[in-house]
């Protein structure tokens, strides 16, 4: 059964190829069957592989499937190989499972779109590339998937390319993540240069043998890989692309935020954890970046008005928790949070999509309201997702995973980071339920038009269930053998319980505050934003990062481009060309067509030749 692993990425890839080459000629049902079916089959294969893997664990907990050797140049022999262990198993289950639900949902959501086939082709490729990324046994192949998801994000964010703003958003996502990609590429170059391999297992083994902890090379490599991860996972300082990335169709946002793309950075850091262990300073940086990002993004989410923007900032914030988990040395907690987040964030985006779908593409939450009555299924599934996001104690998955991250931070002695995380959790609860109360409670705003059909409600329901019970999966226990167990806890069990209670209280406090500010009947406006005043506007603009980058990079770059537009460097060649033209004009005067002048030239030439031979 494990040998069928290659089918997992190949099925969506085949779907992509079929839809790309035949999509225009196929009827919509056929396109749907291929587009949704390929990912569905892939998830079934992934499930079967998982059953086989868990039922009969291969030695070392790793199954490698070498498909072929890519090339063999100067000692570098990258292989097209699939690497299956608990981490990649979890990832393929999430990617194919959540991906399938999103595809199913899209079948209805995109039904009216003229470019139906192109949409599913891109979505399939997106899933295929993400699967390549997480299954790659070699960093080079991983990089292929890495760039592949970058490309697909570009294609899908700019899916409605008729609108210039969408294309700009796509370009922004591409360019900003590219900054990280370049860093990552340089990191890979160093690995090839110093270790002579990109094989995942060999890299870590050789790095441990060859590099002393904290040595310059390993710090550089870890920092560069972190650069790549920061770009893909929208962490400070490369987070600015994600809020704009919602320009694409809502299912795309769900896919980007939950199953593919942004989780790639977290996966990369978890996967190359061995390198980060050798570079403690960079690992600390991971935690600090994560914490800073989670706070900033939570603040920004608190004051947004656009439903998708709120969710986008919340993704950045939740990714911050994952980085915090990675940074405090508990990759299993981070991946646990990644999984639960995939459930509830996909759910929230799909729910938001259903709202937008029903309410004539209205994005502003303050023009929506009271949808609880007209869209009950959407409301209750959305509430489940928001509760998971807010970390509603005991009955939601988000509570367990977030709590685990915070506990590991506390247990590792990072009290400041823990405190910040707890503050973030409070803000998270506040903004999640601000969203819920404003959109689904209160007075009716925009009337709900189209009702979502089963293809939309079924994924919502399944994801809602997963958002609630996903916390009891016991994932950390599965993951810890691969990702390394956290250090023996110094604190007794009692402290953990105490902190859990504290986290629960914080979450409930946030929800209660949201109720007080937004939920009670008769409330109007946005008291938090009003109270924050200019600070709120600053936060709403994403803490001014766009403006800052605009001044710091975009405008100087534009200025340089404008200066170069007139090609000052071209002056020299242009001068040469001008010189040649001048000579041409001067010489053309000699071609005056007059015979006596020609004869004179003949005579003069002869005279000069004579002079030369006689004097030399």
């Amino acid at each position: 059964m494990l040998d069928l692993l290659w089918l997992v990425p190949v099925l969506p890839l085949a779907g992509f190829l079929a839809l790309t080459f035949a999509g225009r000629r196929l009827a919509k049902p056929a396109v749907t069957a291929i587009g949704v079916g390929s990912v569905g089959l892939s998830s079934l294969v992934a499930g079967a592989v998982a059953a086989a893997f868990l039922g009969h664990m291969p030695p070392g907990g790793v199954h490698r499937q070498i498909l072929w050797r890519w090339f063999d140049v100067a000692g570098l022999r990258p292989e097209i190989s699939l690497h299956l262990d608990a981490l990649s198993l979890v990832m393929i289950l999430v990617v194919t499972g959540v991906g399938f639900l999103i595809h199913l949902y899209s079948a209805q959501f995109m039904e009216e779109d003229a470019d139906f086939a192109r949409f599913f082709a891109s979505m399939n490729l997106f899933v295929a590339m993400m699967l390549v990324l997480v299954l790659a046994g070699d960093l080079l192949l991983l990089y292929l998937g890495w760039e592949g998801v970058g490309l697909c994000s570009f294609l899908l964010i700019g899916f409605w390319y008729g609108e210039p703003a969408n294309v700009l958003a796509a370009r922004k996502a591409f360019v900003v993540t590219r900054v990280g990609d370049v860093a990552m590429a340089i990191g890979l170059f160093i690995l090839v240069d110093r270790l002579g391999t990109l094989d995942l297992q060999a890299v870590v083994a050789r790095a441990e043998a060859q590099w002393a902890p904290g040595s310059a090379a390993v710090v550089a490599v870890a920092a560069l890989l972190l650069g790549g991860a920061v770009g893909k996972s929208a962490q400070l300082p490369l987070q600015t692309w994600l809020p704009d990335a919602m320009a694409g169709p809502t299912p795309v946002s769900a896919l980007i935020h939950a199953a593919t793309m942004v989780t790639a950075g977290v996966y990369l850091v978890a996967r190359t954890g061995g390198l980060f262990e050798l570079a403690p300073s960079i690992r600390t940086a991971v935690a600090v970046i994560g914490t800073a990002t989670l706070l900033l993004a939570a603040g920004a989410a608190l004051v947004q008005r656009d439903i998708k923007r709120i969710l986008a900032y919340s993704t950045i914030s939740q990714l911050g928790y994952m980085f915090l988990g990675l940074g405090v040395g508990s990759a299993s907690a981070a991946i646990f949070h990644l999984v639960t987040h995939a459930f509830f964030k996909a759910l929230l985006f799909l729910g938001a999509g259903a709202v937008i779908y029903a309410c004539h593409h209205e994005h502003d939450i303050f023009r929506l309201g009271g949808l609880r009555r007209s869209l009950p299924t959407v409301t209750w599934t959305f509430v489940a997702g928001a509760a998971a996001l807010a970390g509603f104690p005991l009955v939601t998955a988000g509570f367990y995973s977030k709590d685990l991250v915070l506990w590991r931070a506390f247990a590792g002695g990072h009290f400041l980071l823990w405190g910040a995380g707890l503050l973030g959790a409070f803000v998270t609860a506040l903004y999640s339920f601000r969203l819920v109360f404003v959109v689904f409670w209160g007075e009716t705003g925009t009337e709900a038009g189209a009702r979502p059909g089963w293809r939309m409600t079924v994924p919502l329901t399944i994801l809602a269930a997963l958002s609630l019970v996903g916390g009891w999966l016991g994932l950390p226990a599965v993951l810890e053998p691969v990702l390394g167990a956290a250090e023996e806890m110094a604190e007794p069990h009692g402290t953990e319980l105490l902190l859990q209670v504290l986290a629960g209280v914080v979450s409930l406090g946030g929800i209660a505050l949201a109720w007080a500010l937004y939920g009670r009947p008769g409330r109007h406006g946005d008291p938090v934003a009003d109270a924050l005043g200019p600070v709120g506007r600053w936060w709403r603009a994403g803490w001014g990062f766009d403006a800052l980058y605009d001044r710091l990079f975009v405008r100087p770059y534009d200025a340089v481009a404008r200066a170069l537009e007139k090609d000052p460097v071209d002056r020299l060649p242009a001068a040469a060309a001008g010189l040649a033209r001048g000579f041409h004009r001067a010489l053309a005067l000699t071609q005056n067509g007059r015979l006596r002048w020609y004869a004179l030239s003949l005579a003069a030439g002869a005279t000069f030749a004579l002079y030369l031979v006689l004097t030399l």
């Binding site: 004009r585 030749a609 006689l614």
Partner: protein, 488 residues
């Protein structure tokens, strides 16, 4: 004369005899319709030149043989004789459609073409100054007639012929005077004897006379090859002459002269090493450098394709001279190879011009080529191949030849000339590519008259194109033959 001697004279004999036969055919024309005579002349010319070329190839590679004091038949004469005959054959084939469209008798043109070819052929094998004058005059006098031969071209052709007559006459005068001076100082007209006398040391006082004589001979040759500053006639004559005749001027007449120049440089080189900064070589180097720069610069903004090709030929002869000056074993070989590539290329270019032209309205201006790719893709592709080859772009004969030439020049440490050559090539790219750009442009709504290519023209173009690409892609066979024939 041994019994085998007539064999080596066969090409020349066949060519001359064909000329006579064509003249006879024209003379006995009488009441027969004009077209029939013209076609008979055409057929006679094609057959005669093909036979001459065949016999030339058959006798090639034999041991060098002197026939009368005037001629020597060796590797140089074999190869360049073949180049001359093949070029003439191509010109005749290409001219066919153009001439048949004329509203006037055209059979004399074939007679003149054959006579001129005979003169050029004689030049390739003469290593005697009298042989030089003989060949050159036979060639030149034919050319005067040829340039003016098509009356439909009107004053333009007459003007060109007049200019050519006067200037070529003056140049011949220089040449003859130079020959006279050499004879006066050395007392012989045979190149080998001349070389021997010169290396033995000329009598004191007559040394100046000798070099002056050589310089004047060089002026005459420089005029024929259109080297700067003896080039001013070239664009006017190229433009005024009928297109097929221009092709003849650009190839056949150059081939013979280059052969003699090869012998002359070899003779002079035996006396003084080129590196010594000896006067004659300085003059040649200046002619080469000036030709490359001035030729390319003059072509730069030229809009008339025939004039453009005229300037281009000035520059290309300058390149060829660089190879000659490089000396060594590579030098002459590179020069001959370059001449072959040049002849193939320029014939292809003029071939396209010829096919697109009518006598009264020749395809001169670049506008006539606008959108040619969309109207006549095959012709345009042939033109593009020729232009790329002239520019020296890889996969064409021009690239390989220029590469070989550069190697020879670097081998001979001619760094200054190599620098000029590079500058010239860069300049060249600009105007060569302009032709391609024009051909790719959107076609004018009113399409120019589309002349049929004709069977013979098609054969010639296909053959030339094939050779151009063949040399460009797999030059080794050509280089090997060159090596065998030129020895070493």
């Amino acid at each position: 004369m041994s019994g085998e001697t007539p064999m080596v004279l066969l090409p020349l004999g066949i060519t001359a005899a064909s000329a006579l036969a064509v003249m006879l055919a024209a003379a006995v024309r009488g009441p027969t319709p004009r077209a029939a005579t013209g076609r008979a002349a055409e057929a006679l010319s094609v057959l005669g030149l093909a036979a001459a070329l065949g016999s030339q190839l058959a006798v090639a590679g034999a041991a060098p043989r002197r026939v009368t004091p005037l001629f020597v038949f060796d590797g140089v004469s074999s190869i360049l004789g073949a180049v001359v005959l093949a070029s003439a054959l191509a010109v005749v084939l290409l001219a066919s459609a153009y001439l048949r469209r004329l509203d006037e008798p055209w059979e004399e043109i074939y007679a003149l073409l054959l006579l001129g070819t005979a003169g050029a052929l004689a030049l390739t094998s003469s290593d005697h100054l009298v042989g030089l004058v003989l060949g050159l005059e036979t060639l030149s006098v034919s050319l005067y007639g040829l340039v003016a031969s098509v009356r439909t071209r009107g004053d333009e052709a007459l003007e060109a012929a007049m200019k050519y007559l006067v200037l070529a006459g003056a140049a011949s005068a220089f040449l003859l005077f130079g020959v006279a001076l050499l004879y006066a100082s050395v007392g012989t007209l045979e190149l080998p004897a001349l070389t021997a006398e010169l290396s033995a040391g000329t009598p004191a006082g007559s040394e100046l006379v000798t070099v002056a004589g050589l310089a004047f001979v060089l002026v005459g040759i420089g005029f024929k090859l259109a080297l700067v500053p003896f080039h001013l006639w070239t664009p006017d004559v190229y433009q005024g002459a009928p297109a097929p005749i221009t092709a003849f001027v650009a190839t056949v007449s150059k081939g013979g002269v280059v052969a003699f120049l090869l012998r002359l440089v070899a003779a002079a080189g035996a006396v003084a090493r080129p590196e010594d900064g000896e006067g004659l070589f300085v003059v040649l180097a200046l002619l080469a450098g000036a030709s490359i720069l001035v030729g390319n610069l003059l072509a730069l903004l030229q809009r008339d394709v025939k004039r453009l090709l005229a300037y281009s030929s000035i520059a290309h002869l300058g390149y060829l001279l660089v190879a000659l000056l490089a000396g060594g074993e590579l030098g002459p070989r590179a020069a001959v190879f370059y001449l072959i590539a040049y002849a193939v290329t320029i014939l292809l270019a003029f071939g396209v011009v010829t096919i697109l032209s009518r006598a009264e309205q020749e395809a001169g201006d670049l506008d006539a080529y606008r959108g040619l790719f969309w109207r006549r893709p095959i012709l345009a592709s042939a033109m593009a191949a020729a232009v790329f080859s002239l520019a020296g772009i890889p996969l064409t004969a021009g690239f390989v030849a220029k590469l070989y030439l550069l190697l020879a020049a670097l081998d001979g440490s001619r760094f200054g000339l190599v620098g000029i050559l590079v500058v010239g090539s860069v300049l060249g790219l600009y105007y060569y590519l302009r032709v391609v750009v024009a051909m790719l442009a959107t076609p004018e709504p009113e399409t120019a008259a589309s002349e049929p290519v004709g069977a013979s023209g098609g054969v010639a173009l296909a053959g030339l194109g094939a050779v151009l690409i063949w040399i460009g892609v797999a030059p080794s066979a050509w280089l090997r033959i060159l090596g065998i024939w030129l020895g070493g």
